[in-house]
Symmetry: C2
Subunit: 192 residues, 2 copies
């Protein structure tokens, strides 16, 4: 039993601030794809924006460009195999990629987008078209228009991985199949 | 006793791929500053590039724009207080910011840049000027022109935090003084 709750858009940056590896998903003309990306990053607080690098070899990129919408979601340690699989297989060469990788999709009411089940948080994004960045750097900018999190690990604007099963921690990719999980909680008291 | 060794530029992205909070430093006309940033991210492999978001309120930004060079470095758990301090104080209002925050600087031969002592890795970057991104999004792009790491935690192209003291792990900032350390090592075997 767990609960998925909306996250205030002004705090949505906190969902990716710790630098997790993320999944990008998009749908266009009935085609859906999901890919893994290590290069996603906050860009602004209000309105909340983020950047994500999406290579030209990814089918997901066509779907983002075609629909002008995408989802950034945060996979868990329990999803490490699926995350690695969607990061190495391509819909171009494997038409059954999502099924073969064990991806299950769902929707949030009011958002016609493919969200990946089992993640810890989701950010629905509207593409802010910047053709120069997209073409030269494969860099996409999105405005966050919806955000949700699994309340076992994120609530009241903060992650609390330390109070939940380790399988819900985020993944941080290095290279060649090497990941780290999010680790120990550390706090610095605010300055007086 | 520890060793700092160069990192191949084509593998430099791995130094920030796990999404750590980083320190940005720069020097211009004899003025040096160091700030913390959670929004830094890989952008390309070869030549290695990265993005970093630097707000207009940061003195560091002036130094980056003035000199066209900056350093991205990865602070450790042992440096959490300093990291938080340089992220909350400004050289504009605290001329002795670096001393007050306990920052010590050093140089690598051939690079006239302020590197922060005690970090686990350093990336010397040349600014790729993109005025639209800088002005509208506070987004800066750098090409990595030099990279080094503390071999206790990074060697042969991979992090190995699990074989070193926990105080050398990276920091991952959320908000309000809340950080996580890099955690458990997890590996997915490459597909056959």
């Amino acid at each position: 039993m767990h609960t998925i709750a909306p996250v205030e858009l002004e705090k949505a940056y906190r969902l990716i601030n710790h630098g997790p590896t993320i999944l990008v998903s998009a749908r266009d003309n009935g085609t859906e794809d999901v890919m893994a990306a290590a290069w996603a990053c906050g860009l602004d607080f209000a309105p909340a924006k983020l950047t994500v690098v999406i290579d030209k070899i990814a089918k997901t990129r066509e779907l983002v460009e075609g629909s002008g919408m995408f989802v950034i979601q945060i996979p868990t340690v329990a999803q490490i195999q699926m995350t690695h699989a969607v990061g190495t297989r391509s819909l171009f060469t494997d038409p059954d990629k999502l099924a073969n990788c064990g991806v299950e999709l769902f929707s949030f009411a009011g958002f016609d987008l493919p969200f990946v089940s089992g993640c810890s948080a989701w950010l629905a994004c509207r593409l802010i078209a910047e053709p120069h960045n997209q073409q030269v750097y494969d860099l996409f900018i999105g405005e966050v228009v919806g955000a949700w999190a699994d309340t076992r690990v994120f609530s009241d604007g903060h992650w609390h991985f330390e109070q939940a099963p380790p399988s819900l921690r985020s993944l941080h990719y290095v290279a060649g199949g090497q990941f780290y999980a999010t680790g120990e909680a550390l706090n610095v008291p605010s300055e007086t």
